[in-house]
């Protein structure tokens, strides 16, 4: 399973290295969301600084939808999905591989967004460990839930409009917990933040386990 996962993740990342879709479309989109929300809230500095964690996570969430759509669409042409299914690769391995590829892209994206938030809103993260832990846990959850819902909508003609409706309510707990953890991390008093990790941890674990268990049946429905 792990070997298969590494193969699939390597394939997805290699496609990304060559096509640069995430780099030239998803990352600029995330920065755009950052700017648009600042237009809606700004321009005075205090409300922007207060809203910065929320803006950050909204940008991450929307970008996740794009990243998942991209991840599904690279399997959609030329009978790729059938090829993958016939290759004998463990479905759980495919799930883990695709999730790992998305997680890596999201992690890079968050570094960019972190820089953007620091630069645009003058927000300083005081407890770095809390912000990083929250981001890593959230990334695992986002990637697993995203890949699962991507597979759910794969092969449907209405995939592009259906996926956001399906996946965004599911990701809402991450938006909530991620934002709260980050609010604590940027404030001088990070005490309340660790409690929100207790939402992010089960979220990541549940979608990881459910994904490994259900990706097989889903693949046959595509």
């Amino acid at each position: 399973m792990w070997h298969d996962a590494a193969l699939v993740a390597g394939k997805d990342l290699r496609i990304e290295m060559r096509s640069r879709v995430a780099l030239w479309q998803v990352v600029p989109f995330a920065v755009l969301v950052l700017l648009l929300l600042s237009f809606a809230i700004g321009p005075s500095a205090s409300p922007l600084r207060h809203a910065a964690p929320g803006i950050f996570w909204i940008a991450v969430l929307f970008s996740t939808v794009l990243a998942v759509q991209r991840s599904v669409s690279i399997e959609s042409g030329d009978g790729t999905r059938d090829g993958l299914r016939l290759s004998g690769i463990d479905p759980a391995g495919i799930f883990l591989g695709k999730a790992a590829a998305i997680a890596l892209q999201l992690a890079v994206l968050q570094v960019v967004l972190w820089a953007g938030v620091t630069f645009l809103f003058d927000v300083r993260v005081h407890s770095v460990w809390l912000a990083v832990t929250a981001s890593l846990l959230a990334t695992v959850g986002l990637a697993c839930a995203g890949v699962l819902y991507g597979a759910l909508s794969a092969g449907l003609r209405v995939r592009d409009t259906l996926l956001p409706l399906l996946v965004l309510p599911v990701l809402a707990p991450i938006l909530l917990a991620g934002t709260k953890a980050w609010q604590a991390a940027v404030s001088t008093n990070a005490n309340g933040g660790a409690g929100w990790l207790r939402i992010l941890i089960p979220f990541a674990v549940i979608y990881l386990v459910v994904g490994i268990a259900l990706y097989g049946p889903l693949q046959e429905a595509a």
């Binding site: 759910l152 449907l156 409706l165 399906l166 309510p169 049946p217 429905a221």
Partner: protein
């Protein structure tokens, strides 16, 4: 071509519906006229005869049937479209009850809490449940092959069901505004409700449970008939294509038989 002749509505469904109407009538009568106002809440407490039952149906009955149906469909030994249709019906009825839960809770919350809506853990997770159920229904409406649709739907329903325990435990985990369970507390100990109020409360549960079973049965039948209609439409259009082809061929070269109807 035969007209659609669905099997007759089963008799037990009519009986359940009738019992539901009777129980609902008694609940209304007891709840509005017979029971006294509550010591603390006054007449507001009457909402408790319907809000917890509706929420119970939305969460446990609908969620339970949807989860069980989906798991039984995915399990190869019990795979049958019966479970798929049952689960789908449960989610749809559950969505209606989840919406009703939010509406009745909101009507109660305005005088009791002073607001229609608050970002309380249970309210928020219930609203999320409704959105997840709407997503499931949107997924289900996408036309594809019934078996593929069933498989996708089953996975989606299991994912929706993850929210059910969150709604259940939300009042104990976060302790925001919404009170904890009405009948059982966190340790599943039965709480005290007395006299006519207890009876009305109990009857409310019975009435809404019967209503749920009835709606589930009716919705299941519609689901079955819809699938039958889909198959018939396919058959009709196939045989029309065949006969068109047959006429074209037959006009040029007499004697070539037309293809049999309904073959594919």
């Amino acid at each position: 071509m035969n007209a659609v002749t669905p099997s007759a509505r089963p008799r037990w469904l009519d009986i359940v519906g009738l019992l539901g109407v009777i129980a609902m009538g008694f609940t209304v009568w007891l709840g509005l006229w017979i029971t006294p106002p509550d010591v603390v809440q006054g007449n507001l407490a009457r909402m408790l005869y319907i809000h917890p039952p509706i929420a119970t149906v939305a969460l446990y009955w609908a969620g339970g049937v949807a989860l069980a149906g989906s798991l039984l469909y995915l399990w190869p030994r019990t795979r049958s479209l019966f479970w798929d249709r049952l689960a789908a019906s449960a989610v749809e009825v559950g969505a209606v009850f989840a919406a009703l839960t939010l509406v009745t809770g909101s009507l109660w919350g305005r005088p009791a809490w002073g607001t229609w809506w608050t970002w309380d853990a249970r309210l928020t997770s219930t609203a999320l449940l409704l959105l997840l159920e709407l997503g499931y229904l949107a997924l289900r409406r996408v036309p594809t092959d019934p078996d593929k649709r069933a498989r996708r739907s089953a996975v989606a329903a299991i994912l929706v069901a993850i929210d059910v325990p969150i709604v259940h435990f939300s009042v104990n985990w976060w302790q925001t505004l919404h009170q904890t369970g009405s009948i059982v507390d966190a340790g599943f100990q039965i709480k005290d409700v007395h006299g006519s109020m207890a009876w009305t409360f109990f009857l409310g549960f019975l009435a809404f449970t019967l209503l749920f079973v009835w709606l589930l049965g009716v919705r299941y039948r519609i689901e079955t008939v819809q699938d039958q209609v889909g198959e018939l439409e396919l058959e009709v259009s196939l045989s029309e294509r065949w006969s068109e082809g047959g006429e074209l061929v037959g006009a040029g070269t007499p004697g070539i038989p037309t293809a049999p109807r309904g073959s594919s």
